[in-house]
Amino acid sequence: QDDKEVVTVVKVTGENWFTRMEEGVTLYGEEHDGIGTRQVGPARADAAQQAAIIEDLISQEVDALAIVPMDPSTLEGVLRRAMGRGIAVITHEADSLQNTQLNLEAFDNAEFGAHFAEDIAECMGHEGQWTSFVGSLGSLTHVQWADGGEEYMAQFPEMELVSPKNESFNDANRAYELAKEILRAYPDIKGFQGGSAIDVIGIGRAVEEAGLEDETCVYGLGLPQDTSAYLESGAVDGIAFWDPKDAGYVMNILADKFLNGEEIKTGDDLGVSGYEDVTVTDGPGEGKIVRGQAWVDVDASNWSDYPF
């Protein structure tokens, strides 16, 4: 009997985030016998290319797919056919997806957004103007974080949200230019919530150039090494992230368990930190959503603990 084949399909190959994820994917395969794991992804962030890759994987009759969708809605049809052909479908960052068997969320997205908002509000003394960024409006999770933050802030009447959900298109330079514009349009702004992992880099640069390291509060998703310079200078006050390596690893755990017919229940320990006590709820379709509490807070004091 051949090894079971589990293929992880990411949004785009090569970005640091997914390079880190691949470590987890590969590790799972190495640590477990009877299962082969690998990761693939399109060369550019294009939903069509991701769909084409999945089509071909279905034809290759892999046993399970673990997918981080570029744009969940465009994959519904493909994934339904995958399941129809007996392929297990595990997804990540796509809790709106109907055609999935298990969707993994590192945490509750609204809570994650609220967490940033909490930091920002604290840092700003619960008053003043703030804004939020998203990689793109199509990135569901980014939007959920921004919404989560907004909801949390509602309790502070003195907090004013301006120009919400600026789209950086995952481009640091774009984020930088947007941040500059916002600083100009709202000279009194103090709070920035980043969306895509690259947003804080752009915002940080704008803040640093304006010499406003001490007056602003910048929090958002980010990777420690990439953001380290701005964390050190204080332009970015704090980041949080979930370790993509763990996410990749856990997706493969879920795939393996699913293939073995094991059920996942609330309270299960998946053996990876942050996923020791998962919550399982029903998704919008037949499938279930598995949530951990896997975010990590990083600031100037501890970024060097993370090698990526």
Binding site: T13, G14, E15, A172, Y176, R184, A210, L212, A229
Partner: protein
């Protein structure tokens, strides 16, 4: 029996004559078009939001114009010779990423001047390859450079690397932070005009001088006007083609390094997809996509216009989602304007 009266020949009214003279005049000064749009945009944005009129804002627009401006100068030169280049972003990405990796890993102490030198040489080499292909495949430059764009980018990402790279060489980092002058913004923060802005000024001056005052410059326009005639009159059409693409490549290489120093990171995925905005800027500046026409002043105004449009939308409260549509409308508007201009000027 009918009498044929064709309407458009009846330009008898004085008003029509003035209008006609205006058209002819603007055909010779195409830079008037972007200038007009810039003034209109500035006035309307300024009227909606007075914050627009800040020195720091001007600095921001100039700073954001540098990389696009360098690209645009290259595109201008290629367009003037009757070609079209869409591979310059790939060249820039290739040069900036490989060079940054090379400097960091091999010669971390390399100064900024040699870095720019190497970038220019690499870019020029890759550009020359474009020129050779266009000459020898005798195919439309657009299609050839689409091909090289994919090849270069694919090669970069397959064989060189994909990782975002934050620890750029110190020389590049320091250069990116050097300012010529700084202005104090509303909140007391300092906004600077970076030194690399001077590179754009330098490149624009050199390009202007080259196009206007050197033999190769005039040869470029000659080839762009009528390549077969130019060939017969003794212009080395092939060399001119290779030269213009190499020149565009050189500027792209330099622009790539500036992109890294300004962003303080090297991301091989960057710059892809910005070609159209650059070509739009050059076309808005009055260069003809069919070759033989175009000016540095017009191009620079076109670049400022595009930067303006993409930077001021937040100030006036237009969602940035509409930016692309506005850009497209601008291109169509400019293309229509200039094509009608050509028709009228040619009678």
């Amino acid at each position: 029996m009918i009498t044929i009266e064709s309407s458009h020949n009846n330009l008898d009214g004085v008003a029509q004559k003035v209008l006609r003279n205006f058209w002819v005049w603007s055909a010779h000064h195409p830079a008037i078009f972007p200038l007009f749009l810039i003034v209109v945009t500035c006035l309307s944005v300024g009227a909606i939001n007075a914050d627009f009129w800040q020195l720091s804002n001007l600095f921001d627009i100039l700073r954001a114009s540098v990389v696009r401006g360098l690209f645009a100068l290259g595109v201008l030169v290629v367009l003037a010779s009757g070609g079209l280049d869409v591979s310059f972003t790939a060249i820039a990405a290739f040069v900036m990423y490989t060079l940054t990796l090379f400097v960091v890993n091999v010669v971390p102490d390399l100064g900024i001047v040699p870095i720019f030198g190497i970038a220019g040489i690499m870019g020029a080499g890759l550009g020359a390859l474009n020129g050779l292909l266009v000459s020898y495949l005798r195919a439309p430059a657009l299609i050839v450079t689409i091909g090289t764009q994919y090849m270069l980018r694919g090669f970069l990402l397959t064989f060189i690397g994909t990782a975002l790279f934050m620890n750029i060489p110190s020389a590049m980092d320091a250069f990116g932070r050097l300012n010529i002058i700084t202005a104090t913004a509303a909140r007391g923060s300092e906004i600077g005009l970076p030194v690399y802005f001077l590179i754009l000024i330098l490149a624009a001056t050199v390009t202007w001088w080259m196009l206007k005052h050197t033999l190769i410059g005039r040869a470029i326009f000659a080839v762009g006007g009528k390549p077969d005639v130019a060939e017969r009159l003794g212009y080395r059409v092939k060399s001119v083609r290779v030269f213009v693409f190499a020149y565009a490549g050189l500027l792209a290489g330099v622009a790539g390094v500036i992109h890294v120093t300004a962003n303080r990171l090297a991301n091989p995925f960057d710059l892809a997809g910005t070609e159209l905005a650059v070509i739009a800027a050059v076309v808005l500046g009055g260069a003809r996509i069919t070759g033989g026409m175009g000016s540095v002043v017009g191009t620079m105004l076109g670049v400022v216009l595009i930067t303006l449009v993409s930077n001021v939308l937040i100030l006036v409260g237009i969602p940035s989602a509409w930016q692309t549509a506005i850009l497209g409308a601008f291109i169509l508007f400019a293309g229509l304007f200039f094509s009608q201009l050509d028709r009228l000027a040619m009678r």
